[in-house]
């Protein structure tokens, strides 16, 4: 059985931590960007653009870089995706634009679209944003949630001349960009810099510490504003459904990442020696890799199916493996092993597919652990008290992201069908804003 393990801070020196949490993909230099942009074939009806959830005109922005005008390139990006800077950092390009790049298909080496987008947006974001507001319309819109969906919506509404009030439950704007993204993907406080950049258009007031069910009521917002956009994200975290989930050492990965992202001094974070991560998505990868970078001796991801079924892309899985994280497939948590009030390990049951159904095999083994992270997904909690129609447990919207209530739109993780990607949330926000604008001007 598990030997004594400890959860402690200062596993690594500050210098080591700084090195570990440096930029995952260093940005391209100006010359590298020129050379890389020259690799783009400027395809007709480019597959990359079709694969982009925000339909950025990728061949055009790359051509603009090639022609020596990265700020024009950034404008092409921002026209579709005002959070193009963050998306350049966090988009799983290997499963979107770069996966269908004809050079990926032809030679296994796609044009580095993500890095080129980052180059262009980095250059542009050194200056003021290129947009100015239309004349004030006198219309007021409430945007609830200052995450990617809310920010994109608010920006587009402000652009059209509407007055936006944005509410957020937390003390800072940015949503998952600020609290959820792995630290090495958004270094140098980029999330906040981007929020400031987006808000730079003017006409957007942000009120922190307010959320639906926490000082805000949907009915009141509908009365006070001409339209409402909900970018609520997820509020709940899925549970394992095991005994002792509240024991010391059983942690919610999302909450820990939020703490990590807000930590001014990473060496003060408490880090386990032997860490288990339960789950197969991006959050599982992010917490596993970051645990390793924080100094955990061993980190193992347990996933109940095979690796090919993981939501995390092969690229992300590779990232974890290359950081020394082990991935254990066909492994389901069976029982939390507790000593005193602390977790000391996990009993794991081997799983197998029976036909299409995943079943336990009754074969089990025990793994020692001092920290077990739950990363088995998040869920939407209906904070509107049944005011909005739901679909598959999330808010039901039409193509224009309008909900069942005529003055209410919604987007991002809280709506049915959203793919839980930053870029998809941005697309929802922009589309909703265009629909709201048409409604307000109609």
């Amino acid at each position: 059985m598990a030997k004594a393990a400890s959860v402690q801070s200062k596993r690594l020196s500050k210098q080591q931590l700084a090195a570990n949490f440096a930029d995952l993909h260093p940005p391209l230099s100006a010359h590298e960007a020129l050379v890389e942009s020259d690799r783009c074939y400027f395809c007709a009806d480019a597959p990359c653009q079709q694969a982009c959830p925000t339909s950025i005109d990728i061949p055009m922005f790359i051509r603009e870089i090639q022609a020596g005008h990265p700020t024009s390139a950034a404008k092409t990006i921002f026209d579709q995706n005002i959070l193009g800077g963050m998306c350049a950092r966090v988009c799983p390009t290997e499963t979107l634009c770069e996966q269908v790049c004809v050079r990926e298909v032809a030679e296994g080496k796609p044009v580095k679209i993500g890095l080129l987008q980052r180059y262009a947006t980095d250059v542009a974001m050194r200056e003021k944003q290129p947009y100015s507001r239309a004349a004030a319309t006198g219309k007021k819109v409430a945007v609830v949630g200052a995450g990617p969906a809310g920010l994109a919506c608010a920006h587009r509404l402000a652009l059209h001349g509407h007055a936006v009030t944005m509410f957020d439950a937390r003390k800072k704007s940015g949503g998952l960009n600020e609290f959820g993204i792995a630290a090495y993907k958004a270094v140098d406080d980029f999330a906040q810099k981007e929020v400031d950049y987006v808000l730079g258009i003017g006409g957007i007031v942000v009120e922190h510490g307010k959320a639906l069910g926490k000082g805000l009521k949907l009915a009141q917002l509908e009365k006070d504003f001409d339209a409402v956009f909900l970018g609520l994200g997820y509020q709940g975290v899925n549970a394992l459904g095991l005994k002792h989930e509240g024991a010391k050492g059983v942690e919610d990965a999302v909450a820990y990442i939020a703490e990590l992202r807000q930590a001014k001094d990473l060496s003060k974070l408490k880090v386990g020696r032997h860490v288990l991560v339960i789950g197969g998505g991006m959050t599982a990868i992010d917490i596993a890799v970051q645990s390793k970078l924080l100094g955990a001796e061993s980190v193992t991801i347990l996933y109940r199916r095979g690796r090919d079924a993981m939501k995390a892309s092969p690229y992300e899985q590779e990232l974890a493996l290359s950081h020394g994280v082990a991935i254990q497939e066909w492994a389901a948590p069976k029982k939390l092993l507790i000593k005193g009030s602390k977790v000391v390990g996990l009993k794991v049951e081997e799983t197998a597919l029976k036909g299409k159904k995943l079943e336990g095999t009754d074969k089990s083994y025990e793994l020692a652990a001092d920290v077990i992270f739950k990363a088995i997904g998040q869920n939407y909690v209906d904070v509107t008290a049944g005011a909005l129609a739901l679909q598959d447990g999330r808010i039901k919207v039409n193509d224009e992201k309008r909900t069942s209530r005529s003055k209410v739109w919604a987007g991002g993780d809280c709506v049915a069908g959203n793919k839980a990607l930053t870029v998809a949330a941005v697309d929802d926000g922009r589309r909703a804003a265009e629909s709201i604008n048409a409604y307000l001007k109609g």
């Binding site: 020129l34 050379v35 942009s37 020259d38 074939y41 395809c43 007709a44 009806d45 004809v102 050079r103």
Partner: protein, 436 residues
């Protein structure tokens, strides 16, 4: 192993690769380095008449255009002829020739357009035992403002006159270097021949301004905010040079006149193409100025390897082989019908062929089949223009497939017939009764 030796108007060199008259051949130090690296010959940078040497600008002399990774595609210069004293140049030429007897050493000359200065300098050059002289009638900048260089090269009568003086006052082979800054390259070549020149070399550089600085609005290279046109050379000018060489090679009057080719020669392949177009030697400058002298190793090895593959024992075995195939448009076979064909296995589905054909040509490529991204040529619209072949990023993916005689062209519904050209075409109001 192929024999690369060259005998150009009696000037012998171990290989046909010469360094052209330019900065790389301005002094003993560079020329000796070049010979050590394996160059077959050099044309020493142009000497002027005795007296205070010319001066150069003290700011930038070069401008260039680049590919994406700073590959130098075209180079422009505003440097003049040698700015070193005549005496020193002559001493060095004599010394180098004595030490490198197996290499070609030709001296480029440019003096005022009067008989006496030419007579005088030829005598001095002869004393160095150099192998020959090249008359610089091509330099398009600076010297031309003083009635020399291209100012002479643009007047065939002057070319003939000076060439004649040179043959009269010297026993050395005389090569006339031609300027491309002229409408019809055959005129100066004919004049050189008439004047008794042994050969021509071409092309000299082309008038050019590489860019304009969009902040200062100065042409580049900028000398204190002003710029002057320079001479353009490098890979970008090769097609122009190749065409001009072909014009002289197939002109009834100049056919057979020895040609030393110059213009963007960068690899063995470029040299082989010029030789196939009848050139006897290949002069190189920009490639050496970009990469250093060592490139001659690749040139020699590449040319020899290709000659071995083709079973050409000597340069003469393939020299001029392309010339008979250069003809006038009017003699091209209008009954040669081809269709573009896209190799679906090689196609990477970028759609550049589609964009080019749909937007700018003949709407002969489809972009979708059975709801899928698919690029295919529609033979009933394809005029075989070759644009799709040239814009396709995958070499060999799109090919031009000639149609067999007797087959029906689905575009015109006409049968592919025997050779017939414009001269007898019914649409030609000037048509002849019989084909050529």
């Amino acid at each position: 192993m192929a024999d690369l030796r060259s005998n150009f108007v009696g000037i012998k060199s171990p290989n046909p690769f010469w360094l052209a008259s330019a900065p790389p051949t301005d002094k003993e130090y560079n020329v000796v380095r070049a010979f050590k690296a394996g160059w077959g010959g050099v044309v020493w940078k142009t000497l002027g008449e005795e007296g205070p040497p010319v001066v150069n600008v003290n700011g930038p002399r070069y401008g260039a255009i680049h590919g994406a990774d700073r590959r130098l595609l075209g180079l422009n210069n505003i440097e003049l002829i040698t700015d070193r004293p005549l005496e020193i140049n002559l001493q060095e030429i004599k010394k180098v020739k004595r030490e490198w007897k197996d290499r070609a050493l030709v001296v480029s000359l440019m003096v005022p357009c009067e008989e006496e200065p030419w007579k005088k300098i030829l005598k001095r050059v002869e004393e160095t035992e150099a192998d020959g002289v090249e008359l610089n009638f091509g330099c398009p900048h600076g010297m031309s403002e003083r009635g020399m260089g291209a100012a002479v090269g643009q007047v065939p009568e002057y070319i003939e006159m000076v060439a004649r003086w040179c043959k009269q006052h010297s026993r050395m082979p005389v090569i006339v270097k031609l300027t491309p800054n002229i409408t019809d390259i055959r005129k100066p070549a004919r004049a050189a021949l008439k004047g008794g020149a042994d050969a021509v070399s071409l092309i000299n550089t082309i008038n050019s301004i590489t860019h304009v600085d969009l902040d200062s609005f100065s042409p580049m290279p900028s000398i204190d905010g002003k710029g002057s046109h320079g001479g353009y050379c490098g890979p970008a000018v090769k097609p122009i040079a190749l065409s001009m060489v072909s014009e002289i090679a197939r002109d009834a009057e100049t056919r057979g006149l020895p040609i030393s080719a110059i213009g963007g020669i960068t690899t063995w392949r470029d040299a082989a193409e010029f030789i196939a177009m009848s050139a006897g030697t290949a002069q190189v400058c920009t490639a050496a100025m970009t990469y250093g002298f060592r490139i001659v190793e690749e040139m020699k090895a590449g040319l020899a390897r290709w000659m071995d593959e083709k079973c050409y024992a000597t340069i003469e075995d393939f020299r001029g082989r392309a010339v008979p195939n250069v003809t006038d448009w009017q003699y091209l076979n209008l009954n040669y019908v081809a269709k573009a064909k896209i190799d679906q296995d090689a196609c990477i589905k970028c759609g550049r062929c589609y964009a080019a054909c749909e937007d700018t040509s003949h709407q002969a490529i489809m972009k979708e089949k059975d709801g899928k991204r698919h690029f295919e040529v529609m033979d009933d619209e394809c005029v075989a223009c070759n644009l799709c072949v040239e814009v396709c990023p995958v070499e060999g993916c799109i090919t031009m497939e000639p149609m067999k005689k007797g087959a029906v062209d689905p575009r015109t519904s006409r049968k592919v017939g025997d050779y017939a050209n414009w001269t007898t075409h019914p649409n030609n109001p000037m048509r002849k009764q019989a084909a050529e």
